[in-house]
Symmetry: none
Subunit: 202 residues, 4 copies
DNA sequence: TATGAATGAGTATTCATTCAT
DNA sequence: GATGAATGAATACTCATTCAT
């Protein structure tokens, strides 16, 4: 087995376990067993347990960034309407969580409330989502689509919370999976609620 | 010192610590020190560490229930408009978290991702919030104020997430505190966003 | 059992083990067994294994200092001859090692070559011995008893090495113990060799 | 690279490391890195870590033996005076340690206090030194140069300790190096101290 | 009731050694 | 011969819980 395959296997197993049980409930022996690897092998690829978790967390962030930046390329920014733009953004985020329930669970639940050290990575993710929303609203403001009187800071947090909770509701916890069609429908409904909240003309 | 004073002191100290560091980062010795109580004493009032945390969690839920049901009594349900009713509900929830940052932190951050056993208590709280919102919307539906086509399940999760995250943004983490006036303003803005999202006439 | 008795018992057991096997060959479990104490108990009295060893080492130094300073009080410095003074000093050091073979072994053998951190404590002990000798020679110089041309630095190291090796030869390793009479005789012989080496008139 | 060059390289690196950090502080990986050799390669030349250290220790002893026996050939035993003979012996030992600070450090410090197994090699070295001294004194006794009343066993240990400590003082630890002239001078002084201690006429 | 010394199961981590390529 | 990924026994340390005083 190639070097990277092994490392990947450990990460894969750890990802699942951290998602299911959280950081403290996951023992090195659990990861060993799941990855079918000896104790020492884990420490050949990672400095310690912390390192495994951090590596995963960072990869989730990177993956989200990639997904967002790749998605945007598919858009024809010239012709797209504000509401279509909004819907597309939300869709991307939902797709991200739909693709990997472990990431969903970790980022949206199990990774929360951990020591400062880990939590800060999650916070960066949340910050990123909030930033995207803020920027998107700002874009609408510039284009004159956003209703006057909207408090940007509050709105960003408000809709970030809304979207993230819906994501967890759809893809996280026990309720794993959602049909393609349902996802489209849900995206529409959610976009609708946001549009009504921020745009001047419904 | 009276029996209940002691117990209260332990709970008080544990509350703060769990809120600051989370369940696993808080040691019995920390609670001992903070409560200025001997190790054995803690085990005279609580079966184990788990019991302390569960006791706190349950008390938070109870307190929220009390607050909600007491608040409703102050309302004149005959004359109140749907939007005022909504605003009042949100205000109650914000007041709850504003009153005690430790509860806010625990319920909205540190308590998340814990083993099934604890998490279920938190889930009950989230469920409760979502239920209240669902019921309130249902009330609006019955009265003909809610726009047609609104998906109740999604909307309930959507706005629950929105409100909870705003609560954490205002009162949780490091950003402890918010002036009375700001709270009123924020409540207005948030109510506004929700109203636009669900009511037929803005 | 009183608090300090326990701590003393752990130290006593550790002292013997470190002396017999050295630092790395001594496991916490060995100390546990020897002291008839549970694992956790050791960590209630000491921060870690290192702490146990350092505590012992420091106590040896302190004990030596006490012995040296108490011994000097018994001397009538007015009437004593230089050679008697020298003999007395050597006798004190031999007595110190004769009293406790574990200290002898640790300070003169097992404690050597350990990481900087420990070694420095031992070095302090060796330094102390060398200093005493240097001072004593200086005393002889001032009184005109020391032969001209003696290199103080070399002499101090020379005789420190000589005395310490003899101490180890007599009381260290397997050869534990030496009769009172033999000790006196050896002290005389050694004093004689030193006196011949440093004094002007034999 | 030839087979023996490799082995030599490993030994060379290990020698330095054992001298600097001691046996337990030196990891196989350190030796790998220093010798620029793969992990498995080390085990092709040596049975285990122990084997490397023992090989080195044995080579030190052998080297000392060679040096001593080669040196003696340069002497005209017919005409040499007892004191010149003594000086020559001490000089040889100092030269041995001066030539290689790593050997000095290992034999005189880092190698001490190791498990029985290693320690016995060092003990053999110390024994050898003591024997040489004993024999040399015996020679003096036979020739009538040694003062009556000298205790051979004690004297041998005494002067072995003295010489070895001076060697460590001059060449070991941090104080690496000593000029040719200083070495000669020191040898003279030390020989002088020994001569005064054991010979009948100074 | 209050105490705090004692406990030991549980856990992460190290590192010499092996062996298939 | 050389390599270095894989191994797992060994070990230090933690911390919730107990119980005699």
């Amino acid at each position: 087995m190639k070097r990277n395959e092994r490392k990947e296997m450990i990460l894969e197993s750890a990802k699942r376990l951290f998602s299911d049980r959280g950081y403290y409930q996951t023992q090195i022996s659990d990861i060993m067993d799941a990855a079918d690897v000896a104790r020492g092998t884990i420490y050949q690829y990672f400095k310690n347990k912390d390192d495994i978790f951090t590596t995963l967390l960072e990869s989730y962030l990177k993956r989200y960034e990639n997904m967002v930046s790749e998605a945007i390329l598919k858009l024809d920014l010239k012709t797209i309407t504000p509401i279509e733009y909004l819907r597309f953004r939300i869709h991307t985020t939902f797709l991200f969580f739909a693709e990997d329930p472990d990431i969903c669970n970790t980022l949206l639940r199990m990774g929360l409330g951990l020591p400062q050290h880990f939590d800060s990575v999650i916070l960066r993710f949340e910050q990123r989502i909030t930033n995207i929303i803020t920027n998107d609203i700002q874009l609408g403001v510039n284009n004159g689509h956003v209703r006057p009187g909207l408090d940007m800071e509050i709105a960003a947090n408000f809709y970030a919370g809304a979207i993230l909770r819906c994501a967890y509701h759809f893809f996280g916890g026990a309720s794993r999976g959602m049909s393609r069609g349902d996802l489209e429908a849900a995206t529409h409904k959610i976009t609708d609620m946001i549009a009504r909240g921020i745009f001047s003309t419904p």
